[in-house]
Symmetry: C5
């Protein structure tokens, strides 16, 4: 669970609502269902037109889930699994992997090893893993772009809402008592538009895009591992090659060289 | 039919017009033919200057059609066709494809197979398919950029319309009763400019660009298939190679590896 | 003659001036020589500082010309010429091209064939054509960026003009009758700045950049043709290879494969 | 210590606070804890949602440290070390490096040499160093993007704060004495939002991104050196190859060729 | 001397100051030392934080110099020198170049020839020239980005200055006579911020970036020349290969092929 995402949501809302409270604004002052309808309906309509149905569905299911999912970047157990397989493959040949494949924990590694066991050429395996990783990256990144896109529409639609409110005020200048409250209501649409974008949708999109990058790097690690296994690379060398994918604190000889 | 595009249009308009209604604005308040003429005429003039006639025509015919066209991303039948051809080609040689070519459903695959049957070298076929796909992508993407470009001009021209309205108001400050309604009319140009851009043109452009990407990926799938056929790749291997182009729910061994 | 560029200019001006007229603004209301001087002088000064003299000259001569020049994208006659040369070269050797070179219509093809006849190696010819095309593209694109850059400066300088006008108004608030007209004049600088940018300079820059792309694709076509001639590629194959550079409506077998 | 970072912070604050003082604003005029809470709380919440915890931690520890850390770009001692190793390796073989490895000052060079001594193939060493450098660059650059991202949220959240303040004013127009001070307080949120972004977070992000580039170039230098050592390149040639990584003032034959 | 840079500066200032004069603003109206201090101090502080000291120094010395330096793009004498060397090298061997090296006018060519004479392999020479050119380009481009960055900060800091001025006005609404002049002074900060950015810093940055491109192309020409010399390319072929780096008006056979 990526607690920061939840904490960030709460902190953002608290800051704005709490700030409004500290400025002596009653909660009703920023409660404006019409503004909410305009901003969410307008931006929602825009995003429905912007992306194909499959992307919409993916962004609001898998994309949203990814916002709150922790990605474990301690790849040491994965590297260990790869090195173990490489050791067996080097000693007993690639076919010997078959016996140990069922005990592989990582599902992506397990699937990639299937290609090796089935006798796919190294070049073909690399092509498959590259294409697969590229599509996974692209599909995940689109989810991020879609959420950012939503966050790009809410402020502009918020401006439409605000201007509609101001038009209402301008048409009724003869009633001076209604001017202030009228402008106040108009401004709420701006708060909604800018707020939803900057506290929720843009940040969620950014996080999904960043996590797409992290997942891609993990796929790259597996690919380098599979390549090493198929080339029969010395497992010790392979381990060093895979450890540069680790953050520094997880690397084994980090301190030694200094 | 990409129903989301239609639903999105309706939702966006409903949100804005309904919002105006809920704010007690009569429909006439946002009816301003002059503002419409300035925004659409100005942005229309700008886009005519921005792109060559062929691009303009393509964007408002094929581009617009693509906004509302569903792209089927279930490539399983296409992959099956390719694998069937690969099986025949491997067993009976490339020339044996000729007999089955007429029964090929996918027109792009059919055309690509013609190069194979005519005896084009693999390298040449790949170059032709790559160039063709690149141009198709570029031409489709230009349609998307053009629609987004239109959506980039309407808000700025809307500002010109609003400022012209404000100039009118400022020159007649001596008539206080005309100030409010004058400003109200001026603001409508902003609503039109921002509204057309954010509810229609920008989202349509984004969708066309996204669909250009999807079409390009489909072309890539066919290219990889044709390469496999010409190289005489094991059909089983080829199938695995093509399946990574599928969304996960369509893949055959997806569950198995886990 | 790219009539759309002229039509677009006229449409844009008509929409804005006609819109002003429909809003009952007399033409004198948007006639402000001072605002014109500030906007064009300021943006002109900025662009002189932004690009070297050679780019400035090119943008306002060749660049402007390109805005109004029709680029014929029906490359069928060019492809026919290339295939004709390829047929002769394959049958009678590369030297036989010399005799037909004078009758070549396309000047770029003619020049490229000179390298072939002079005995340049294929690799060298490709390098020369690539470098030449790259520089032509870059020089043309710079023209487009410069025009867009001009369109980037006019609105910001227009804001300077408007603020100067508002400063004048603010310093003379004691004379209420001058406020409205003063603000009106100040706003004209905004109209000029946003108008010149969005109706003229940005669109012209976009068109030049797009035409740079089209010219580059044409150079690419010639390069692929010359490569085919030097490699002695089967003219039938070469024709297919070149036809993917054509828009679909111009291709010969387009209907057949379906 | 990168003194410019500290000097820049002080200069920026001095200019704004001193400017306020010169405009006869008492310090209390720009002291508004509520505005501070809204801006920092809102932007802080947004950034927590935007990046995974590991990035957040890295940006506010290593990233911030890098803002104030001087990167020595006089690589002459490093080049000398590499050339010394290359000389030994060429004369006495790669194994002879082992004896001198402990005296190597640069920890990255020391670690890279370990791969050479352990008998890794040149291709593998290059892959390891490239991957390592790529990840280091990406991790550092993310820190810069995160800080810039923070600076992207503070002005927009500042606008929310300002609009909330204006709503408060608009709801109380009946009390004219409160209008001015109310608007004044609302504006402080804008000053905080724009100020934190432009004087602190954006500049810090830019510096981290620039330093990521400089660190990457240094890694590149080491890689070219290690390659030269493994290929047994003439140390004199290697030195020339490494000196182009130096700024001109540090190069040895700079003056000679002129 | 790039006179356009000076002319542009003068034209920009004349347009704005002259425009102010034509709008009957006395020069004192836009003279506001406090606004100047805020804008230049704030943006100066921001830029000190944004880039390492070495970049700052380079941008305000070499970068500024480049703004006013004419780059001669008539490379015909340089090409002639290269072809002369290539002719000697082809006839009498690479060592024969040594005798003529002292008479080489172009310092970069002279230095590159030193590598050839010293017996560096062609591959190594290309790597050295590429790396050298890449760093020169990057260092020059950073100067341009830094100047543009400065131009990115002045308007935003100008807004801070303006808002501070408006806060002052809002706190003293009880003194109506001070409102107008107070707002006027506040607006001057906007004029300074937008003016410095758009008339000076952004254009200077753009010019430096463009000149970085031109210098890189010149380095590329020398590299292609050196490659030709080392490969013993026919000097006639080499000349054609180098002439595509020339603007069309300088090419020798330009008219002939038409």
């Amino acid at each position: 669970m990526d607690l920061m995402s939840i904490l960030g949501f709460i902190l953002g809302i608290l800051a704005v609502v709490g700030g409004a409270y500290l400025e002596h604004l009653p909660p009703t002052a920023i409660y404006a269902p019409t503004a909410f309808i305009i901003v969410m309906g307008g931006a929602g309509g825009a995003i429905l037109v912007s992306y194909p149905p499959a992307d919409l569905k993916r962004a609001f299911t898998e994309g949203m889930k990814l916002v709150f999912k922790t990605l474990d970047t301690d790849y040491r157990p994965l590297i260990e699994e790869i090195v173990k397989v490489a050791t067996v493959a080097r000693k007993e040949g690639v076919l010997a992997i078959e016996g140990m494949r069922n005990s592989i924990v990582d599902p992506k590694l397990k699937k990639a090893l299937k290609y090796v066991i089935d006798g796919f050429e190294p070049k073909t395996v690399v092509e498959i893993l590259d294409t697969d990783s590229f599509h996974e990256f692209e599909e995940t990144e689109i989810c991020g772009k879609l959420l950012e896109g939503f966050g790009g529409y809410t402020p502009t639609v918020g401006i439409i809402g605000a201007v509609l409110g101001l038009i209402h005020v301008m048409r009724n200048l003869s009633n001076p008592d209604a001017i202030g409250p009228g402008i106040a209501v108009a401004f709420v649409a701006t708060v909604y538009g800018v707020g939803f974008a900057n506290l929720w949708f843009m940040p969620m999109g950014t996080k999904v895009k960043r996590k797409a990058q992290i997942l891609q790097m993990r796929n790259e690690l597996i690919k380098v591992g599979i390549q090493g296994i198929q080339e029969g690379l010395n497992p010790h060398f392979l381990k060093e090659k895979l450890e540069v994918f680790l953050e520094h604190k997880y690397r084994s000889h980090e301190g030694e060289a200094h």
